[in-house]
């Protein structure tokens, strides 16, 4: 059996996270680790040694800290479960917990915003190893005193730690420090109201390629999956969603709030976003569109209505429109301002009535003098334009005949409404061959 590549993960982690120090590298922390799995079921005592009850769970609070502090304990007293504030803990060892007073208030546990239970929500649950790029299960969690509080400092995903736990007594409790991964390197996606966040793991997730992130999202279960999406940078999440399979994406959106869905879809390329919305049922689509910026929603609504087998259904509405009286300098400025959307290889030029005149490549703009008007650059070859209701096969023919990387889509009045890039065409063809592939499959079976 291959051992999990824990060492290599840590090495990569150091490189990725680098900036901040990992506390597990401190000797005093490594030597004072307490296993959470081993701690559950151990006695909790008053000052003086009288037993209150047995530990059921450890409550932690997530905030901006990389290492979440223990905010309380859930203790089984007689037949009921009570909550004890974390501030009361005087001494926490592997075999027992001692409180700082001889009497405490036992209250009922009510989960507060940003809290999670280590045993019920995190232990044995799926977590994302952001550096190993995979979903794993946590075998154990480790606590240690740090900055005057007891905090979660590490997680163990090794099989060894997991097997250790099935042994009874002290044998099942001892930490194996060499397998512990620093908490700052994992993204744990706890159930319930508390979502475990750590700034470092967030940063590390940001370095993943959208396609890898999409795989990771597809590997996760419902709530954990939504939690990961919530924790990602919206632009990155939107990129990852574009990479996901259609039906996976549909399932995912059902697990997210309309607000978050709206945020993500409006950050996707308009044609991709429209495609996602088109597949949703009417109520769901409407609830998402209502949460959007009205201008974005209006644009998407228009796109959604187009048939996917027509030019209007596969085009992207994003393009840069300029007047023929504009200067080269202002066109370039527009391109620079929109560089994040990186699909603009030039500007579309219209006349005073908004009718299509030309498409000017970025290279022509750079070569021209900045103060001349765009009309001076206009001339053959003119761009290929198709009507929004042009059928897909005709669009393909146009592409083949003109060998361009994009064509412009216009409405009845010859006003430009969008562009079809070569990759939009590839996407459209891929989704068609997928559908007919199923049909062929049905013949074979």
């Amino acid at each position: 059996m291959k051992k999990p590549p824990v060492t290599s993960i840590n090495t990569v982690a150091k490189r990725l996270v680098g900036r901040s120090e990992l506390v597990l590298q401190r000797k005093n922390i490594r030597e004072s680790l307490v296993s959470v799995a081993g701690l559950i079921g151990r006695p909790v005592r008053y000052q003086g040694g009288k037993e209150i009850g047995r530990l059921v769970d450890v409550v932690v609070r997530h905030g901006e800290d990389s290492y979440p502090p223990v905010s309380g304990l859930i203790v089984k007293v007689g037949q009921s479960k009570s909550f004890i504030d974390g501030a009361r803990i005087a001494k926490l060892t592997q075999s027992e917990i001692q409180l700082s007073s001889a009497k405490v208030d036992l209250t009922e546990f009510i989960r507060r915003e940003g809290e999670s239970l280590l045993d019920a929500d995190v232990l044995d649950h799926q977590i994302v190893d952001v550096n190993g790029l995979r979903v794993v299960r946590s075998s154990d969690l480790y606590l240690a005193p740090l900055d005057r509080e007891i905090r979660v400092v590490g997680v163990d995903i090794s099989f060894k730690a997991f097997i250790r736990r099935i042994f009874p007594g002290a044998l099942g409790r001892g930490p194996i420090p060499e397998h512990v991964i620093d908490w700052a390197n994992v993204a744990s996606l706890a159930h319930g109201t508390g979502v475990v966040r750590s700034t470092e793991s967030r940063a590390a997730l940001g370095q993943l390629r959208p396609a890898d992130l999409a795989d990771l999202i597809e590997d996760l279960a419902g709530r954990e999956r939504s939690a990961l999406i919530e924790m990602l940078d919206p632009d990155l999440a939107a990129d990852a969603l574009e990479e996901m399979e259609d039906d996976e994406l549909q399932g995912l959106l059902r697990g997210l709030s309309a607000e978050r869905s709206a945020e993500l879809i409006s950050r996707m390329e308009p044609d991709e976003g429209a495609e996602v919305l088109r597949d949703l049922d009417d109520d769901h689509r409407e609830s998402i569109l209502l949460e959007m910026d009205t201008s974005v929603a209006k644009q998407l609504r228009k796109l959604v209505e187009f048939d996917e087998t027509l030019a209007g259904g596969i085009m992207t509405s994003h393009m840069l429109i300029t007047r023929e009286s504009d200067t080269v300098a202002s066109a370039l400025k527009l391109l620079v301002e929109n560089r994040e959307r990186d699909i603009s290889d030039g500007v579309v030029v219209v006349d005073s009535k908004g009718k299509l005149m030309d498409h000017i490549q970025i290279i022509e703009l750079i070569a021209a003098k900045p103060n001349v008007t765009l009309s001076t650059l206009m001339g053959p070859p003119y761009p290929t334009a198709v009507h929004i209701n042009t059928r897909l096969d005709e669009v393909i023919d146009e592409f083949a005949n003109n060998r361009g990387s994009s064509i412009i889509v216009v409405d009845e009045k010859n006003k430009p409404v969008g562009r079809i890039l070569a990759d939009d065409l590839v996407d459209a063809l891929a989704s068609i061959s997928e559908t007919s592939g199923f049909a062929q499959g049905s013949g074979a079976l």
């Binding site: 059996m1 999990p4 097997i163 736990r165 996976e248 549909q250 399932g251 199923f438 049909a439 049905s442």
Partner: protein
């Protein structure tokens, strides 16, 4: 100019169904393994049509439990063992997985025994048939993509048609068969109760329950697919019952009529020859090979899913051996070990089979209770949490299975 192919909505629906099909069909049919065929043959040979209702009842239980397993898989995207670890703790997870591994090695040995027996009916030595089968299933799973593996599974399942043909050839008394399905009567003898409980036990296999859940996860089905998946599960489970029905009917119409007692499915094939013509023997043997091959592919796969799931390691047929070493290693070890056990001269086969039966029976009950617990867990199942009606149905089935298991253990260990 190329014209676009028009796909009718009906065609799309069928295509969508076929794309979802798999977990229910494969997990169901693999329960009709050589051990199952043997049980059905004995049931038919010894009691004629009388106990067909037991088969009908187990089919209903199979539908309900596979439906639940598949739904849990799709909703939680986790295998059964992983969920047990998450919800019931490390010890429950390790114990379940451990029992499952041991039982699966035993069951896998039984599948190879079926292949050896069927091979011998065609005059093929077991030293040839078993290694070939072991390599064939390993090659299939190790070297192919999920989609391809699934197609081969469907192809192997076609072998079951042989039983249906044999059933018609035997010329059964359909009226008596219908009566046997609908009217539950049982002679109160130890043998009759044993074969009835064995029928339930062989239909509801722990590895099948673990498999359907993991397989639905691996197939990456989504909540959207649940309706179609239900069609798949019902079809698969019903077919499983129907094939069992034809095996029982064939044996009832021939062996039972003549008062011939048999010990296993290969016995049944041999005994059929003079009664239903030569083809009946060949058909029974072909069916047996298909049944054994399908189960022999599913068992190590089910084990590999469970072990990977327990440890939280990657486990997908589309992963490469390098990406999922534990998954493929488990598959190889289970297959190799079982092949070795069957080929080893002097291996205590009878003991292995009895112990396997006991572990499978003992394991089934806690697994069902865990599944019941998971189905009621709002946190895990969300909107698909079991309704009150479903909970009642699950509870009744678990109670009946519990009684059957207790009877069976009583017979094996004490009776």
């Amino acid at each position: 100019m190329a014209t676009k192919k028009v796909i009718s909505p009906k065609k799309i629906r069928i295509a969508a169904l076929l794309a979802v099909m798999g977990p229910g069909m494969i997990a169901g049919l693999s329960d009709d393994d050589p051990a199952g065929i043997t049980t059905y043959s004995v049931l038919g040979a010894d009691y004629g049509y009388q106990l067909l209702w037991v088969l009908a009842a187990s089919t209903i239980a199979l539908i309900v439990l596979h439906d639940l397993g598949a739904r849990i898989g799709v909703v939680t995207r986790q295998g059964m063992i992983g969920l047990i670890r998450q919800k019931y703790g490390a010890r429950a997870g390790v114990l379940s997985a451990g029992a499952l591994i041991i039982a699966n090695i035993g069951t896998m040995t039984a599948e190879f025994a079926g292949i050896a027996a069927a091979g011998q009916l065609f005059g093929l030595s077991k030293f040839l048939s078993v290694p070939i089968a072991a390599f064939a299933v390993s090659f299939l799973v190790l070297r192919n993509s999920f989609a391809k593996v699934e197609k081969v599974f469907f192809l192997i399942s076609a072998g079951f048609v042989a039983y249906v043909i044999a059933g018609f050839m035997a010329g059964p008394d359909w009226g008596a068969a219908a009566k046997g399905v609908l009217i539950p009567t049982i002679p109160f003898t130890q043998e009759a109760i044993f074969i009835a409980t064995a029928t339930i036990g062989t239909t509801l296999a722990p590895w099948g329950l673990a498999f359907i859940q993991s397989y639905a996860v691996d197939k990456r089905l989504t909540k959207d697919d649940l309706k179609l998946l239900r069609v798949d599960v019902w079809t698969g489970s019903l077919l499983t019952g129907i094939i069992g029905f034809f095996v029982v009917v064939t044996c009832a119409a021939t062996l039972h009529k003549e008062g011939i007692h048999i010990n296993d499915a290969a016995d049944a094939a041999k005994a059929l020859e003079p009664l239903a013509g030569t083809m009946a023997k060949e058909l029974f043997a072909i069916g047996l090979i298909g049944a054994a091959l399908l189960a022999a592919s599913i068992l190590p796969l089910s084990t590999a899913y469970s072990v990977s799931d327990l440890t939280g390691r990657p486990s997908a047929l589309d992963d490469s051996p390098k990406e999922a070493p534990l998954f493929y290693a488990t598959f190889g070890i289970i297959t190799g070990l079982s092949a070795l056990l069957i080929l080893l001269p002097g291996a205590p086969l009878i003991t292995i089979l009895v112990v396997t039966q006991v572990i499978n029976a003992v394991l089934l009950l806690p697994l069902l209770i865990y599944m019941f617990g998971i189905s009621r867990d709002k946190k895990l199942m969300g909107e698909f949490v079991a309704t009150r009606t479903m909970k009642t149905i699950y509870a009744i089935i678990i109670a009946v299975v519990g009684v059957a298991i207790a009877c069976m253990l009583w017979f094996i260990l004490i009776g």
